[in-house]
């Protein structure tokens, strides 16, 4: 069987969207537009969504899928979303993500079904057991911190974490004093979330180290570095 090109498949499921199906579809349409703009040529296919209120995306392997999670979670009108993010082979094609297939799509389907049952919020599968175990342990904390934000805190976190503005720039954008924004930053847990996201990105990148110059590496070549321990998959 021909192995397709490699990509990152992203499924996002709006939780309890049935209560407000029209609202959820409208929100997903705007999110699709925002993600299409944000990822541009890092996409292998345009984002799309299905009638079951499920967003689907297909990104190049060098794209950062965590950014999509932040974009959805820090929208001022954010809705609770469940994510499955799978790195793997996809069939060649031209259509939007919702019309594509391949091994990574099958795994993402399995992952999001399993996440629904286990109430996981963000499932990331890189194929590297060590990285995937760590990611499974770290993403609940990220989801927990993101969920705890108010509308105002999400706006501050969005400007800081997605647009990359400094405190002074966020103060200017929102038209408030520097001292006010300093308090808002700590209430929005901006620093904790930023650090945790950095950590999650490093673990994610470590799964692909040595696979090509485009990848960032965490486990840098280091003479004193022993082999990473591999947690057993069944220990949770």
């Amino acid at each position: 069987m021909k192995r397709g090109p490699t990509g990152i498949v992203m499924f996002a499921d709006v939780i309890s969207s049935r209560a407000d199906s029209a609202g959820a579809a409208d929100w997903l349409r705007r999110l699709v537009g925002e993600l299409d703009g944000k990822f541009g040529d890092q996409r292998l296919a345009p984002f799309g969504f299905t009638q079951g209120d499920e967003l689907q995306g297909l990104l190049r392997v060098e794209a950062d899928p965590i950014t999509a999670v932040l974009v959805a979670a820090l929208a001022t009108d954010a809705r609770p979303v469940r994510w499955a993010i799978v790195h793997g082979s996809v069939h060649a094609g031209r259509g939007p993500a919702t019309e594509r297939t391949g091994d990574a799509f099958l795994k993402a389907r399995e992952a999001i079904n399993a996440a629904r049952t286990s109430h996981e919020r963000i499932v990331i599968i890189t194929g590297d057991g060590y990285a995937d175990d760590l990611l499974a342990d770290l993403t609940p904390a990220l989801a927990d911190l993101l969920d705890s934000l108010t509308v105002r805190q999400r706006l501050v976190a969005q400007l800081a974490l997605i647009e990359g503005l400094r405190q002074s720039e966020v103060a200017e954008r929102l038209g408030v004093r520097r001292a006010t924004i300093s308090v808002a930053f700590s209430r929005a847990r901006a620093r904790s979330i930023q650090h945790l996201v950095d950590g999650i990105r490093k673990v994610y990148a470590s799964a692909f180290e040595g696979e090509g110059p485009a990848q960032q590496t965490v486990r840098v070549p280091d003479p004193v570095t022993g082999p990473p321990i591999h947690g057993s998959r069944g220990e949770r």
């Binding site: 342990d137 904390a141 927990d144």
Partner: protein, 227 residues
């Protein structure tokens, strides 16, 4: 492994801080047992000092300090390195010992104070240290945000390793009540974060072996669990 803990704002309540440190020292001495190279102690500057085996788990001390009935904010320095042998045959407490790891821990604690960080870590492997320092702010955010009730639940779940049903039994409340408490105290996200930090720390500290204390908290393995 040298472990320093600095009680934040201790000058506002010297007497209370000293009493708190005394009970924490006793608790940590019991919790680490053979994982210690010296007894825990604290200095007049309200600084906790411990000297542990390289494979000991620093998260245990951090969790016990944060989740006591009277939790206080503590800045931590964790340094792996050389310590001078003790002239009185391995009996002197950590506060009377020296070595390059103590000097490094002193520097790390200063760094934590000026950067307002809760944890500075030096395992000798930079990528491991930076990964752990990326996770620390979220850990302390979640620990420090707890009320007294949440701390009790978190203590039973994270330190004693009890399941939801066991926590419910211990506290004499219904299962459904505990399910809500677990969610409110973010127990599951905290357990994941702590487990990830232990694995990452262990990969540097023990060359791939699991941390000593990590074994102890898994009930199935820990026939000798000190709970």
């Amino acid at each position: 492994m040298v472990l320093f803990g600095d009680v934040v704002g201790s000058s506002r309540d010297r007497v209370g801080t000293t009493a708190w440190l005394r009970s924490l020292v006793a608790e940590l001495d019991a919790a680490y047992g053979h994982g210690r190279l010296a007894g825990f102690g604290f200095t007049q500057g309200d600084e906790l000092q411990g000297l542990l085996t390289p494979g000991a788990d620093p998260l245990t001390a951090i969790l016990r300090a944060a989740l006591g009935a009277d939790g206080r904010e503590v800045r931590w320095a964790v340094v792996q390195g050389d310590v001078d042998p003790d002239v009185v045959g391995g009996q002197a407490p950590a506060t009377q010992r020296t070595g390059s790891a103590f000097v490094a821990a002193r520097g790390a604690l200063e760094q934590a104070r000026s950067a307002h960080d809760h944890l500075v870590i030096d395992t000798g492997r930079k990528e491991v240290d930076s990964l752990l320092e990326d996770m620390a702010p979220a850990l302390f955010e979640m620990l420090d945000g707890m009320n007294a009730r949440a701390r009790i639940v978190a203590r039973l779940a994270l330190i004693e390793g009890l399941r939801q049903s066991e926590v419910a039994d211990r506290l004499g409340v219904r299962r459904a009540t505990i399910t809500v408490s677990f969610a409110a105290a973010s127990i599951r996200p905290l357990q994941g974060l702590v487990a990830a930090m232990r694995r990452i720390y262990g990969s540097a500290a023990t060359d791939g072996e699991e941390l000593d204390e990590f074994r102890l908290v898994i009930p199935a393995v820990a026939g000798h669990c000190r709970g």
